[in-house]
Symmetry: C2
Subunit: 180 residues, 2 copies
């Protein structure tokens, strides 16, 4: 079993989700978001850093994953997103966690079997895979989708022993997941 934390960083809301994963099965431990809409920027960054550190200390994840961002907005919003993302990744590295990165399309591919699935389908699959009854906040769901992608990626690698081919580059089907 491997405990994985997924992070979806943002300047206003940073989603997080921690799962226990083993051979195509995954269980939710905790998910939510750190909201930093108010206050000055240095304090908001510090809040992301401290709350992630506290989460990591409490749940002791063994591996971490974040979404690889391809920003298509303006440079100023890329800078602002980068600041939050840097602080989040630094908090993971400070806890000695390796940080895997997955493109949005590889997350969609891993969860639904299609790299062009829409957000709603991905959210639905997160609920199904983790057997959740209640709806999740979007940021929390996105973070869990990244954690599930990492779980599937490392499980594939372990099973097929193809690590040398490069994790995250191959196409994978979401159907590998046990849904029962």
């Amino acid at each position: 079993m491997t405990r994985i934390i997924g992070i979806d960083p943002g300047s206003r809301h940073t989603g997080y989700g921690i799962i226990d994963a083993q051979r195509g099965r995954a269980q939710l431990l905790v998910a939510g978001r750190i909201s930093t809409a108010a206050g000055e920027m240095p304090q908001r960054l510090l809040q992301i850093s401290r709350e992630l550190a506290a989460l990591i200390a409490e749940y002791q994840p063994e591996e971490a994953a974040v979404e690889q961002v391809f920003v298509n907005k303006n440079v100023q919003s890329a800078l602002v997103l980068g600041q939050a993302r840097g602080v989040a990744i630094c908090a993971l590295a400070a806890a000695d966690l390796s940080v895997a990165e997955y493109t949005p399309s590889s997350v969609k591919q891993a969860l639904t079997g299609s790299g062009r699935a829409d957000k709603l389908q991905v959210q639905q699959m997160v609920k199904i895979l983790l057997k959740l009854q209640d709806p999740l906040a979007v940021d929390a769901s996105d973070a869990l989708a990244i954690a599930l992608t990492h779980a599937q990626s490392r499980s594939t690698v372990a099973a097929v022993n193809l690590a040398s081919l490069g994790v995250g580059k191959r196409r994978r089907s979401g159907l590998r997941w046990s849904r029962a």
Copy 2:
């Protein structure tokens, strides 16, 4: 007297400079750069965070200043710069330092008297104001320029008691500095 740390964050090199400033005079304590050109991104961010924390612990600055960035490159480099900048600002906030931001033109204005001075003139003024003999690395010099701008700004505010007008918005002449 006030001890000020200036930071010039970058994904490859983060410049820093710490000065003691008092009534238009300033003295260099330490300046240099944290080079993070090698290694994976999470480890590079962690290095910036840890080296800045160590510097702050050693020199105990009371105030901090960074340059306000207006990126004119592509969004991807803005994201990468933002990551380093976020980590640096978070390290300052974690040490309970208030973080002032200055535009590149206000730094030029503060040091040379002209908001359109070139980089070489600014570097020259850093050397003169701090009575340095040896040349400085560019990143270190840029960080000191930001620290000196903050020193001048707060000194002006203290002298004229015009804090309510908004620091950093008024024009200031670099000639206020005592050069002797």
